[in-house]
């Protein structure tokens, strides 16, 4: 399997604070990879680094073999990386359609954009119903669908999702996870997503990485991680038997 995205020995600093400590991470084509970890472990920083919103001190970021370590966000999006920001962050006073167009900002092919707009409406019928409605008036689940659709508007090969289930009810969480799988299977888009709940994340991911204080401390296939006693203790609430 060729690597779509490859981070190699990436170090990131916030002033004197060492936020990412020599992390190496890969996402293969069409793969779902989960990024696990507690608060302030560096998950969001990793996402922002991949998108080029934070400067890397050392190490490389490659996308489809191309070194994009110093490339702009715009360039990376054009190359095929899209983002679903933390807490969805749809543009609240813009309509659903306008939000989708904002997702296609880096594209210049008008015809293609119009086609994709139609595709997204077919793909997410709820959004089609509400296309002229302001995004701020949508429900949490609908906003999440909009955030997915907005990311897809740039025709990405990889979508980075920062806690897509944040603040949603358990029932909606399941729906969102199903949706991630559907996007991955039907559109062939690779997904790297951050999730706090390890069990849920590993139920759809093929592989996972565990971050702690800026360092990748564990990695492996979903099965390996689920069976790992450290994970069971720290994230799955299954304490070691005394």
């Amino acid at each position: 399997m060729t690597d779509l995205l490859a981070l190699d020995d990436v170090n990131v600093y916030y002033g004197p604070f060492h936020a990412l400590r020599g992390n190496t991470l890969t996402v293969g084509e069409g793969e779902i990879v989960s990024l696990l970890g507690g608060n302030a472990s560096g998950k969001s920083t990793t996402m922002k680094t991949i998108l080029g919103l934070i400067k890397v001190k050392s190490g490389t970021v490659r996308f489809e073999g191309e070194d994009v370590t110093r490339a702009s966000t715009r360039h990376r999006i054009k190359a095929g990386i899209a983002s679903v920001p933390e807490a969805r962050r749809v543009f609240p006073q813009m309509t659903v359609d306008e939000n989708l167009l904002a997702g296609a900002y880096t594209r210049r092919d008008r015809v293609g954009i119009t086609e994709d707009l139609e595709r997204m409406r077919d793909y997410f019928p709820r959004l089609a119903e509400r296309r002229r409605q302001e995004a701020g008036t949508l429900s949490g689940g609908e906003q999440q669908m909009l955030a997915f659709a907005r990311a897809l508007m740039s025709r990405p090969k990889l979508i980075c999702m920062d806690e897509p289930t944040m603040g949603l009810s358990p029932k909606l969480v399941d729906q969102v996870l199903d949706e991630i799988v559907r996007i991955n299977k039907e559109l062939g888009v690779a997904v790297l997503f951050v999730e706090q709940q390890a069990e849920l994340a590993l139920s759809i991911a093929s592989r996972g990485y565990v971050l702690a204080t800026g360092e990748i401390v564990l990695k492996g296939t979903a099965r390996e991680l689920l069976d790992n006693p450290q994970i069971q203790e720290a994230y799955l609430g299954k304490a070691k038997k005394a």
Binding site: T73, R74, I77, F91, M94, A102, Y105
Partner: protein, 600 residues
């Protein structure tokens, strides 16, 4: 009545153009752009220059004005605003204030400060409908605005860059993640806002028939109030706010006269800020999205000053300078001391409470007028009048400022700026002429008229001021005020009612401002409202920021440099303001804690 309505529409037209620019920039950058205010004056002067001096036709002069304003706006954004806006929105705002002073005074140097008759390029009062009179000029202005607004709204609704502007103002972080070039969006917004400001300036000159470099600030402040009324960041709101304000103002002037203008505007601002802080169309800002609470100037550590420096400074300022018996040095020194007193008293507000009040000329004026009235009408001794003047300044300023402590960030600076202007406007309303022959201080029957005597009095007051400020800093009260300044929400969570302490800090500062005003009045023996200008307020802020915003002794250093050095270099007033502005920008940019504070 209909005439008044038309007058209101025409004024509102100008405010709407200005307010849209202010709202646009605020939306994408979270900065209130004072530099925008200058474009009103600058647009008018440039148009006057192009038409009368260069003899260009109006249709050519107008686009030229817009291009020049747009280019200037771009330069300002690249050099001053954008580098600061990301990290320190409040510092960026302060810098735009400095930029606006620089622009106004550069324009005064270029075009001189006098009022110029603006050529009647289009006929006025040539149309009649019933008993309404209006002109082609009015129609052109209103329809131009209508076209501009229509183009703007189409651009924002359907244009790619327009949508990017909206996306950025609604969620900058998300916009970045969509690959929207936020920097470019901000540049474009600045350019549009500056051009709109220039256009508004040309219109106001066309409407009133005269142009003057300093006219920008008042119009700018009104346009800002219009933007706030409509809801900062909302462009439709800005247009509505502009017209509502223009009409209210026209009727106010119709019924109460022209001097009531500023009072009406300020009252509207306060009412909006209290009753509906988000404006008519805006959303009420949440604490979490308000990036401007607290002070940006608290970082860094004051330089350690050895004891002997204090002693040496005391000896030089208090003994050596008076012994020189050089009247010129002593008179300059007196100015330095008075501003040092005012600025040292201001540190508790600006530094500790974190309230960047921009209208200290208000309480200074109150002190000066009270002291004059007490000694002349009630025959108080100067020594009694001095503290009473301070007290009056504190009380009056506190009462007037009491509604504004609930508001935050930019609003509080703007509100205090408006407050300062309003106080001076009210004084002008009550005492339109200057006051002459204010009695000089007496010391056991001897009139103290020599420069040495004034110098020593002011030196004594400064020493007392510094001791009081030092004591306050050390006290429990001082620490509570500092806690409010550094994190108001946290202070509130610990049971500290922030607004009360802000009000108290402001009252302390107003007291010393009043004392300073009284000293000024008795030294000059003549006062009139033109002394207590925006420049005076800017000077106080610049002194404090230069010396280190929460260091009372820093104020003394700041006053020596900014007043002493300027005087000794014999700079003209316009040039001085430009230097003040540059100093302010440079200090805020490179040494935000002030020159006596090492960056951390």
């Amino acid at each position: 009545m209909l005439d008044t309505l038309i007058a209101g529409l025409l004024r509102g037209n100008v405010y709407a153009l200005g307010a849209v620019g202010i709202s646009l920039v605020f939306g994408v950058m979270n900065v209130v752009n004072f530099a925008q205010f200058s474009f009103f004056g600058l647009g008018a002067m440039l148009a006057w220059f192009f038409i009368t001096t260069l003899g260009l036709p109006f249709w050519l002069a107008l686009p030229l004005v817009l291009v020049v304003c747009a280019a200037l706006g771009l330069i300002i954004n690249i050099s001053v605003v954008r580098p600061l806006a990301k990290f320190l929105p409040l510092a960026a705002m302060l810098s735009t204030y400095a930029v606006s002073q620089i622009l106004d005074n550069a324009s005064q140097i270029a075009f001189t400060a006098q009022f110029r008759v603006f050529p009647p390029v289009l006929p006025n009062s040539n149309l009649h409908i019933g008993n309404m009179r209006f002109g082609t000029s009015d129609l052109v202005m209103l329809s131009t605005t209508a076209v501009v607004m229509l183009v703007m709204s189409l651009f924002l609704k359907y244009g790619k860059v327009g949508r990017a502007i909206r996306a950025t103002s609604q969620d900058q972080e998300a916009a970045l993640q969509m690959g929207i070039p936020v920097g470019l969006v901000q540049h474009v917004s600045f350019v549009i806002a500056s051009a709109l400001g220039g256009l508004a300036g040309v219109f106001i000159a066309l409407y009133v028939g005269v142009a003057n470099p300093a006219s920008g600030l008042n119009i700018g402040l009104t346009a800002f109030v219009a933007a706030t009324l409509g809801g900062l960041g909302s462009l439709v709101g800005a247009v509505i706010g502009g017209f509502v304000l223009g009409i209210l103002e026209a009727f106010g002037i119709h019924f109460f006269g022209d001097t009531s203008r500023q009072i009406i505007i300020f009252v509207i601002l306060i009412v909006v800020l209290i009753a509906r802080p988000g404006g008519l169309l805006g959303k009420v800002p949440l604490i979490s999205t308000e990036p401007l609470t607290g002070t940006f100037l608290g970082k860094g550590r004051p330089l350690r000053i050895p004891r002997w420096v204090w002693a040496a400074a005391f000896v030089v300022l208090g003994i050596v300078i008076p012994l020189l018996r050089n009247d010129y040095v002593l008179i300059t020194g007196t100015q330095v001391l008075i501003y040092a007193i005012i600025a040292a008293g201001f540190t508790v507000t600006a530094g500790q409470a974190g309230v960047l009040a921009l209208g200290q000329a208000g309480p200074i004026a109150i002190g000066a007028y009270m002291s004059a009235a007490l000694t002349m009408q009630l025959h108080f001794s100067f020594w009694v009048a001095l503290p009473v003047a301070g007290l009056c300044a504190a009380i009056v300023a506190s009462i007037l400022a009491s509604p504004i402590w609930g508001v935050k960030g930019h609003y509080i600076s703007i509100a205090t700026l408006g407050l300062g202007i309003t106080i001076v406007a009210v004084i002008q309303l009550i005492v339109p002429q200057g006051i002459y022959n204010i009695p000089v201080p007496q010391w056991f029957g001897t009139a103290l008229t020599t420069p040495t005597a004034y110098y020593l009095i002011d030196f004594g007051v400064l020493v007392i001021t510094l001791l009081v400020m030092w004591r306050i800093r050390r006290s429990h009260l001082g620490k509570v005020i500092s806690s409010v300044g550094s994190d108001e929400v946290a202070a509130l969570a610990s049971g500290v009612r922030g607004r009360n302490y802000k009000a108290l800090a402001f009252a302390i500062s107003a007291f010393f401002a009043g004392i300073g005003g009284s000293l000024l009045a008795h030294q000059y023996t003549y006062i009139d409202p033109t002394i207590f200008t925006m420049l005076m307020s800017l000077l106080v802020v610049t002194i404090v920021i230069m010396g280190g915003v929460s260091l009372p002794y820093g104020a003394v250093v700041g006053a020596i440099i900014l007043i002493g050095a300027m005087e000794l270099l014999r700079f003209t007033p316009e040039l001085r303001i430009i230097v003040y502005g540059l100093v302010l920008i440079l200090v805020v940019r490179f040494r935000p804690g002030g020159i006596l504070v090492r960056n951390s």
